[in-house]
Amino acid sequence: MSAVIADPRAVAETVTDPELPALTLADLGVLRDVRVHDGTVVVDITPTYSGCPAMGVMRADLLHALHSAGFDDVEVRTVLSPAWSTDWISDDGRRKLAEAGIAPPGPAPERTAGPVPLQLGPPRRTASCPLCGSADTEQISEFGATACKALRRCRSCREPFEHVKEI
């Protein structure tokens, strides 16, 4: 029997997201799998967006956490398929987003095989204000400070807030 210091999955699940530090990579659905193969801890992560600049930091944070817990052989692998979806954000993750003042995403648009229909109207997305709870909110910008967020404003309390957009 090998001398297991800690459960590598439990260690990996403590690592937080560099851009949303209130959430773990597991909450976000970015952490796809943790397994031990021939004495090596193999961790699978998937990017939220193709250009997500945080992937390198995530990889380094996972290596650091697992090395610190005594796992010397760690391999962090990128998994591209299936593509990440906001539906993978856990209920816990959604609650933590709201607590951090960021409106969690609604259900992701359905993924179909054929051509993607054109959306000429304003995005039909809605989000309740994470500060006062009002449903009366409007979009200010389709793009926010990171690729995964849009900017909205609450018409009731007048506060702007970020919204994780559905993909």
Partner: protein
């Protein structure tokens, strides 16, 4: 190996070339991905095809970032930056895929021997080695023309990527499946701007119509397959550009009509130019900016 801090881990996580990849010290984007080439596919063709799709994204990303500090409003600057970032991410994956099938081959020079494939390909190829279309390399022009070009480029790319999800190359299929969601967002965003400008003031309408006039001829060489593409279409790996023409035409016509803009006659097909490495001076100038730092200081760290 136990790193003391996260920052040590960042710089030590990889070999000596770790400071490359856009100077971030970050990972190679395909780290850990199974990059085996499917049976019956010529790796050289696959590499060139990845360059075509990757260079389109890299060059358009560079064009969009030229709007940084110049966009008409702050939100739109963030939007163009984010769109460019998505495209840059797609470019990194595709150039890394091109490198993984050996596209650099013997053209690897001493200067690029120690840096990741994606960087060697982005920074150390000359203009005639780039495979992007003329559509993405053309100057931005004003904001209206930029949005018309973004609409056309993202409509074409989305139509190609939607089909590429079925590619026999699992890496290309995965990159496409991810890219589809991003490209749909880019296309719809650009379409709403064209709508707003075309159906806006007389001045914005005039500028949007001028933008259409400037961009339309750039579609002439988009829908004819190169020999490389034709072979890969037969092998079930690539998308035939001719197959997306009707869909592109329908989308663009819908947007322009809703925007009260006149749809010009569809340009006659001509043989591929940019896909075969034939470019205008605009690409040379763009690459001088994109590549200057890396070429002057190939061993720089930051």
């Amino acid at each position: 190996m136990h790193e003391e801090t996260v920052y040590d881990a960042l710089t030590n996580a990889h070999d000596d070339a770790g400071h490359w990849a856009f100077g971030t010290g970050f990972d190679e984007p395909l780290a850990g991905v199974d990059t085996t080439v499917p049976d019956g596919v010529d790796p050289a063709d696959l590499g060139v095809y990845c360059l075509m799709l990757g260079d389109d994204a890299l060059v358009l990303a560079q064009r969009l970032t030229q709007w940084m500090t110049n966009a008409p409003e702050l939100e739109e600057e963030v939007a163009l930056g984010n769109t460019g970032l998505d495209l840059l991410g797609q470019a990194r994956l595709l150039l890394a895929r091109a490198g993984s099938v050996g596209v650099l081959g013997r053209s690897r020079s001493l200067a690029t021997a120690s840096i990741p494939d994606e960087d060697a390909l982005a920074y150390f190829r000359d203009a005639d080695e780039f495979r992007n279309t003329g559509l993405v390399e053309a100057e931005n022009g004003d904001f209206a023309r930029t949005m018309v070009r973004l609409l056309v480029a993202s409509t074409v790319r989305l139509a190609v990527f939607a089909r590429l999800r079925e590619s026999r190359d699992p890496v290309l299929a995965a990159i496409a499946a991810k890219g589809v969601h991003e490209l749909a967002y880019h296309r719809d965003h650009a379409a709403r701007w064209v709508l707003r400008l075309g159906d806006g003031t007389p001045e914005s309408h005039r500028r949007a119509q001028d933008g259409v006039a400037a961009v339309w001829p750039l579609m002439a060489d988009l829908f004819t397959a190169t020999d490389v593409e034709a072979r890969l279409v037969a092998a079930g790996v690539a998308v035939d550009p001719a197959a997306v023409r009707d869909e592109v035409r329908e989308v663009l016509t819908t947007v322009l009509e809703r925007a009260t803009l006149t749809v010009p006659p569809w340009p006659d097909d001509v043989a591929p130019r940019g896909r075969e490495g034939r470019h205008g001076e605009e690409l040379t100038a763009l690459l001088a900016t994109l590549q200057g730092l890396a070429r002057q200081h190939p061993a720089a760290t930051w």
